[in-house]
Amino acid sequence: MSTDILNEVTQTDYKYGFTTDIETDIIPIGLNEDVVRLISSKKNEPEWMLEFRLKAYRHWLTMKLPDWAHLNIPEIDYQSIAYYAAPRINAPKSLDEVDPELLKTFEKLGIPLHERMALSGIAVDAVMDSVSVKTTFKESLSELGIIFCSFSEAVENHPDLVKKYMSSVVPYTDNFFATLNCAVFSDGSFVYIPKGVRCPMELSTYFRINAMNTGQFERTLIVADEDSYVSYLEGCTAPMRDENQLHAAIVEIVAMKNAEVKYSTVQNWYPGDKNGVGGIYNFVTKRGICKGAYSKISWTQVETGSAITWKYPSCILLGDNSSAEFYSVAVTNHHQQADTGTKMLHIGKNTTSHILSKGISAGLSQNSYRGLVKINPAAENARNFSQCDSLLLGDKCGAHTFPYMEVNNDTAIVEHEATTSKINEDQIFYCNQRGISTEDAVGLIVNGYAKEVLNKLPMEFAVEAQKLLQITLEGSVG
């Protein structure tokens, strides 16, 4: 019976799959030093930024695609990708100057760009293809000394901050995709929260890929100075296309003494159709550093999209008594592949980290958790607790757990728990018998399973994420 229903896997509608008909400034495909220079000049960048890009590009040429992930990555032809695409706009001063097509796109996506309409109390930076389209609430935030703008603007207006922190957490030599990003990154968001300021609203960046044959390479840098607090949300979608598109981003977080940064992602890039055609290749490097004592960084992610996900939001616990959290729900269906997890590097004394990973696999998908907990010799009394659960829907998918631990200090306490379970038919039938359809039952059960993580999301996101889990798994269970 269960296989009957599994075979009937219905077409899941990806409701963000539309394209926007807008004039786009797109550079020819291919990658070489001239392209890197062209991107830099399109963005009117200062010489130091160009130098940084070229240094990264030259290093990238010496690197090889990593092959350690439990992923089957088709050959990517880096010469067939366009590395820069921008909706043709001239830095709009007000919303009236923004192309109405663009506004419509973001409205369709449920992203409020009209500040007077933004009752949701979230400041948004909207990024389409390679450029930031519009940042809301910029002025009211700046009264508090908070800087929230596109990365390009930050390079122009706050070069000292960018120079100081950019690449301080993820060096340009870090890994194949991060290095590529350093060479060709287009735009992204920049956040600076000054000393003692508690950011009064959620900050959010919304990434949208629109143009064909392009890659999206954005980078985000969040710096929380001493005693500050910020909660940051990231959302992403892309049109449905038959081809695969590359997304290789970098997110860096710096938390100074006593600062707290919460970073939440709902990743919903187009996952490809049910036969595994198309979809985004999502290779992302996210890392934070708890630089000061008592600082705190938490990563919460709900991963439902992308054909391939390769992503390990990590933390370097440098400051004494600093703490880090990683909460993740990763869902894969049809032919999706995900290799995701975290790294917790304990350096300071009395540092604590908590990892909670919930994997859900359906269809023919492969879902892996990969995590490293490393306790350095100096990290006295470090603590880590990791829990990795896998839920299987059907018998053609795979769930894998690769936990690594390196403990170099005897005072450390490191714990790891893992479970694997299947949605059982008795649970579904029990729900059916109470009048709840199988689809709704799966939604209830999966959301129940992921609840601990979903509870960590800001309210607006939690509701969206719950719906998303259900949509992603539609028709995948019996």
């Binding site: 019976m1 039938f429 059916n432 018998q433 009048g435």
Partner: protein
């Protein structure tokens, strides 16, 4: 209300029900008794549409509808409720959320608006009293960490919430101590009306001291082989099932 004619059903090719017939009218309580493996729980599963079982022959009509054509959830929405012998645990799903989803699905089927949170909570409070259920249970995950008695009480609570036409109680007495049994039976009795009906599946006559049946049927080898009034239950208690087996097998 319910008419079963010559019902045959199997699981993994093994025939369990072999021509079962039974009629249940509104206002009646039917007890089904019988030895282990006779097919009592299978009957409950088949009536509620458990996909593990395949019906090969026979008819089941429920309020003039062909029951066998309905999905399990629509059978529930039409008013069939099963109190499970082994209620399953659903971690992370709160009873409140679960029940509210169920109640609103039933309402949607009847083309009614979803219930407001206030009305729902009021109804929940009333129905909980019926089975003397602890307030805390409603905030816990479905059956998770419930004791055997709590699980059974929770079944009757759900029955009260969904107000079925036909309730099937599958070995509701198993694993209950005498106090829990009394509470559960009281709950069932309070829900009894002239327009609804129950099928009580049990191994022992003990439960029938509390829930008094109008009819008692003996299920043996996939068929109902003997029917009578409530005194039949007492006779079975006294004499066991062997004499019935002999009667049937001697045919």
């Amino acid at each position: 209300m319910l008419e079963i004619k010559n019902l045959h059903a199997n699981i993994n090719g093994k025939e369990i029900l072999k021509g079962l017939s039974l009629t249940v009218n509104a206002g009646e309580i039917h007890a089904i008794m019988g030895p282990n493996g006779a097919g009592k729980s299978t009957l409950a599963s088949v009536l509620t549409g458990n996909p593990a079982f395949t019906v090969t022959e026979g008819e089941v009509t429920f309020n003039a509808k062909n029951l066998l054509e309905l999905t399990p959830e629509n059978r529930s929405r039409e008013g069939i409720f099963l109190s499970f012998q082994y209620p399953v645990e659903i971690p992370g799903v709160s009873m409140v959320n679960f029940m509210r989803t169920a109640v609103n699905e039933h309402r949607k089927y009847k083309k009614l608006e979803p219930m407001s949170a206030t009305d729902f909570l009021r109804m929940q409070r009333e129905k909980k009293e019926l089975v003397e259920m602890d307030n805390k249970l409603a905030n816990r995950s479905v059956n998770e960490g419930f004791s055997g008695g709590e699980k059974k009480r929770n079944e009757i609570f759900q029955m009260a919430m969904l107000d079925p036409m036909l309730s099937i109680l599958d070995e509701t007495d198993s694993g209950l101590d005498i106090d829990a049994l009394r509470i559960v039976a009281n709950g069932v009795n309070k829900l009894k009306r002239s327009d609804n009906a129950s099928i009580v599946i049990t191994h022992y006559q003990r439960l029938l001291d509390y829930i008094v049946p109008d009819f008692v049927h003996v299920l043996y080898d996939g068929r109902i082989v003997k029917s009578g009034g409530k005194e039949l239950a007492l006779e079975l208690e006294e004499r066991g099932y062997d004499w019935i087996k002999k009667e049937v097998d001697g045919e």
